[in-house]
Point group: C2
Chain length 711, copies 2
């Protein structure tokens, strides 16, 4: 399975060239590698690194806990994990890239392997970092670099350019499992309009399907769907339906019939399609590892694009399995044998846990197979590719059908999938700690190639409060993917579902997000193009004494966030590693004041977006709009904190083309001459009429300069 992912052809994207990498299995390598034949699944390889007390480990993508991964265990094994308590060591992604930082040295490592990898980063033994690769057929790539950022950049180049969504994907999206029919979707759309809250789309959870069948739309609940889709789109609002991995077993259901006929399904040991159960009850799983199946499945998305759909989310593709026939039978047997018994604690918990553990039991992965280039592979061995390859199938299909950019996100992922779609961070909950996890998780995921990322704002499971939703918006306003999503039977979570105050604050914050889109989109496009991070921990810049700060993040090169993520807090402590300018935004107002280096208290109203602009940096700000379709960049405000000289490169394009023809780069330079500033705009946008500068300089003398570009 070695090189499984790096060598293959990539549809429609230029694949980054591996550069200056090193396969390290030779003697004298900094890692000790031992082969242990004892662990059951194939041959396990153990890598061991010494950890000095000051060593730090960054990366590993979608996992809970601190940005510095030290002191924990993780497992790269995609899992439908519904309960994100802090002890969970696997989520939906398998992201085997990390950087080992020792004082001012650092090395990056990428383990290219489609099966299970287990990390113990000084948990069992504090000075030992041990990695177990459950198999032998892998590739390990060592990535040197003179800084953390350089290593990240080289890794990103190696794995190839990330997925670029349409610009409208940077808008606000509403979602809910439980919008039961078209009327309800319409009501959501209209309420956003009435309440004057920007909206770029509504996600459709599985409620829209007929009996949980992929590529169907319930005629009863969603009549005249195509007309509705087109009508909304004309108003700048996109519908984004879900597609699940499992295909319902049902005679005459076209996808099922085609799958059987085309030999597209994963097989059991006897060579028959494997039967598992998910939403609709019994299903088969498409074998996305077969190119012909990807082609076939991708083709199916035409059903949606023909309805006017331009965005999809792929879900349950770890794949999630509720039970299979064997496991359910065994559980029922145990229950029957318990009838009338006096069960003590051990027997009782065995019974209870047998039923609880049906959900996503990993033994299922030993019961079905994939066909890879004519060779049979046990699912367990290639598990982490499943969601990834489903998304490749979807990407291929959507590109063919639409020939322009589309929104595509997936729950399961592995490294490489970033070229085909983004990810949301799965089934979090309406917990304050999950807002904190969201903040910490973003840079780790970004390091592993994914840029179009975000969490379910407000939390998927559990009961959200208005305060939590508002505080979460204040962070998610800076994540490329901004979606408010919640589960069935939870409290309504739309911005208007709470009090008027929550509505007003949310509106102000969401409109603030739209003011940020010129900056966020520009940052996104430049970051992908230049293989730089969109989300960056403070530690990556080696600001001594600030390495441990994990609740403040840089966004792009210009700004720093310090969000509030605790209940009943109107202020928080922030530790500024350098003098910055504090920016305060509402829908209409923009304040900029000087903030000194060091620890300080930051007041944080619920109706503001507040963040810091770094020294000698600038950023553009637009005006709010009801959606990206109506977002004008004809007037941009430029915020600048210039100590002597600053330069900003603004990126824009048409937001939808696959080609780079519409790409535009505008350079703004500001220099300080005494108390005044010299401003130069190179290659101004043709339509740009006025740029308003707001500048804070270290002496505290504020200046507003209205600057005309095209006269």
């Amino acid at each position: 399975m070695q090189s499984f992912k790096l060598k293959e052809e990539i549809e429609g994207f230029e694949f980054g060239t591996p550069m200056d990498t090193e396969i390290i299995l030779e003697k004298g390598s900094p890692a000790k590698i031992s082969f242990n034949e004892k662990i059951t699944l194939g041959k396990t390889t153990t890598l061991a690194f010494d950890l000095k007390p000051s060593d730090r480990i960054y990366g590993l993508g979608e996992h809970l806990g601190s940005i510095n991964r030290r002191g924990r265990r993780f497992r790269s094994y995609c899992r439908d994990e519904a309960n994100h308590t802090e002890d969970k060591f696997e989520l939906y992604g398998a992201h085997n890239f990390f950087i080992h930082v020792k004082d001012h040295e650092q090395i990056g490592w990428f383990i290219d392997f489609p099966g299970e990898v287990v990390y113990d980063i000084g948990f069992e033994k504090e000075e030992l970092f041990e990695i177990k690769i459950l198999g032998r057929d892998f590739r390990i790539i060592k990535i040197p670099g003179s800084s953390i950022e350089e290593i990240v950049s080289r890794f990103l180049q190696m794995i190839g350019k990330a997925y670029i969504p349409p610009k409208w994907a940077f808008g606000y999206f509403q979602s809910r499992w439980g919008y039961k029919d078209l009327e309800e979707i319409k009501e959501v759309y209209e309420t956003f309009k009435t309440e004057d809250i920007p909206l770029d789309g509504i996600y459709l959870d599985l409620d829209y399907m007929e009996d949980f069948k992929n590529f169907t739309v319930s005629e009863k609940r969603f009549p005249e769907f195509k007309e509705f889709v087109e009508n909304l789109k004309n108003n700048g609002v996109y519908l984004v339906p879900i597609i699940d991995a499992g295909i319902k077993i049902e005679a005459d259901y076209n996808i099922y019939e085609e799958g059987i006929a085309g030999k597209h399904f994963c097989l059991n040991a006897q060579g028959d399609p494997y039967v598992a159960a998910v939403w609709p009850g019994k299903v088969h799983f498409p074998d996305f590892l077969q190119p012909k199946t990807r082609q076939w499945f991708g083709e199916k998305y035409k059903y949606l694009t023909d309805l006017g759909i331009e965005g999809v989310w792929n879900d349950m593709n770890e794949p999630a399995i509720f039970y299979d026939e064997k496991s359910l039978e065994e559980a029922v047997d145990l229950a029957a044998a318990s009838r009338g018994k006096n069960l003590n604690v051990h027997k009782f918990f065995e019974l209870k846990d047998t039923f609880a553990d049906l959900l996503n039991d990993e033994s299922y992965h030993q019961r079905f197979y994939h066909n890879v280039e004519g060779k049979r592979h046990l699912h367990r061995e290639v598990h982490n590719l499943y969601g990834d390859y489903m998304t490749r199938a979807a990407n291929g299909g959507l590109r063919r059908h639409l020939n322009k950019r589309f929104l595509l996100i997936s729950r399961a992922s592995s490294i490489g999938m970033h070229r085909y779609g983004g990810i949301w961070t799965g089934d979090n909950a309406s917990w304050w700690t999950h807002l904190e996890e969201n903040i910490r998780m973003m840079p780790s995921i970004n390091m592993c190639g994914f840029y179009y990322i975000g969490a379910d704002t407000g939390g998927f499971g559990g009961q959200c409060s208005g305060e939590l939703l508002t505080r979460w918006f204040q962070f998610s306003a800076f994540t490329p993917l901004l979606r408010n999503h919640s589960a069935l039977d939870t409290r309504d979570q739309e911005p208007y579902a709470f009090s008027n105050e929550v509505l007003n604050n949310s509106r102000s914050v969401i409109k603030g997000r739209y003011r940020l889109i010129p900056y966020l989109y520009s940052t996104y496009m430049k970051a992908v193009e230049d293989y730089k991070l969109f989300f960056k921990p403070l530690a990556f810049e080696y600001m001594e004494g600030y390495e441990e700060i994990e609740d403040q993040l840089f966004i792009g090169e210009e700004i720093m966030l310090a969000p509030i993520y605790k209940k009943n807090q109107s202020r928080r402590l922030v530790n500024l590693p350098e003098e910055m300018a504090l920016i305060s935004l509402t829908e209409k107002t923009t304040d900029i004041t000087l903030a000194p280096k060091g620890p300080q208290v930051m007041e944080y109203d619920l109706n503001h977006l507040r963040f810091f602009l770094r020294p000698n940096k600038m950023m553009p700000l637009g005006k709010p709009a009801e959606n990206v379709k109506n977002l004008s960049v004809d007037e941009l405000e430029i915020l600048a904190f210039i100590k002597d000289r600053g330069e900003y490169l603004y990126y824009d394009d048409d937001g939808i083309s696959l080609s780079s023809e519409s790409k535009h780069l505008m350079k703004i330079t500001v220099s300080r001459c005494g108390e005044n500033y010299e401003i130069d705009v190179e290659n101004p946008l043709p339509q740009l009429q006025i740029i308003k500068f707001k500048i804070v300089d270290p002496k505290g003398c504020l200046q507003n300069i209205r600057y005309r570009v095209n006269v």
Copy 2:
């Protein structure tokens, strides 16, 4: 059921006289009260308070989340909750006291009711605080006061003096579910000795019993138990066994037979003893609401005291119920009916959840009854008294058998139980967020009368890391109850179970705790005596701009903690509401430096205890000892931060007597005269030889004064 708890006789304690209270059911009351006949269980009463945006709510005892309870829901209904995720709104205690703070006004409220009470503190509607009392027969007491602290103090006077443990209960205790035999306990004891870690006791979880039977000791696994207990006690180490609520149904088991004969068990609707299942399988529950049953059950503790035991923990007394015969039968039926079926998501989750929900299903509470003064009461109606009254039974028995102080803690509790025992905060986990919960929970529990409190240090469930254990010790070093406890099948969690570094750091911190015992014990005794808080939030002192700080606490009147509760952090931000002295302790060293008011970074080594001494305050520090038995207060060091004049009252006694005859109060006064200090010690302890003063003054000139008392 009105006045159920306040009016009754209290064994051996003088009950605080209700003073200046007001029963508020009349017109014009600040609370709106409405009676809603719709809710099924009896007649529900709803109280509603308006919440202004700046209002804060403190109290409600043992619950998760922020100290300011605003924005959440809670339920006073004792529950064996094994999974303390932040959305849980009931734990083991029912503590119906809270303070409503509006700007600079405040009112306390106590709801005296033994059944369910539900609080919505601005969750559903942000400006509405709604309380539902599921029943009518209650008493509401309004407690006015000119400050939060005054209200707390009046409430504490009203509900009566708290339980006083022996002084040895302030030592370090090791515990683990899974110390399988006497040899293992011995090994723990000896390892603490070998590794030079102080130890005052070892808790015994249910492993010591024969077949989970209360008041038995396994002869096979714990042979010659009495000799062992006495031997350890001679060395200053106490064994503290567990007692559970359920009594195993087993012919010839004396407790079972006596319980049946004496009509001591709760009855079902047919008048037969109710059968539920817990650890041993089927059990009966003693009806602790009957005085005769309390008397009988209390008598049973003699079995333990005769073995030399002087401390007990009462567990599973919410009561926890794994299943009952009816519920198990129904679940098995559902499983049998599912055999061979194609279950879709709804049917599958119904099946899975039916088994999961067997554990502590509240429907059981509708199936058994108590006998209260000849009247039958459904358990559901008086549920919150169960653990409380079990502890009263134990307290009564232990007092009679020992006639001196004893250690007694309970998992379930309600207000009033504080007079009979302490509580530990139940089955937390080895999560960093649970260390934070521990910090926030202490003052809320303390407000409700409980002083001998603490959490399972290192976490009960889950896998602890050495770093988490050490950081947790750094906080628990300040909680009266300091116990390291962990669950079966979790990683070993003793201070020596990790690396040498963890061992060394833990040893240093635990020894630091023993240096603090003179201060902590003195603070505890004075706080109980004077009805003051041991743990106090910053907000209770109205320091404007500091009200929202919930990760810093005052301990007594003198010191402030700012613990580290995040992974991989060697420093944290602290916001000092006033200039203080930063104290740094190890086993042998004591540093004291000046810390200015305002936000700052505090470095926090793993081997230190670090905290702040408030202005014009002093505190005593002792020397480490292997246990409290060997703890000498012949030499005390006094730390002082004197701006002009400070006074400290030191309390000590023999640590074991029920009477106050051995009580000793020593007053130290320090005044500043220029650069020097005048020191006066009033009523010095007879054995005290030397007091060493360490003083920091605002000008930063440190002075060490060795002060001889008795020459």
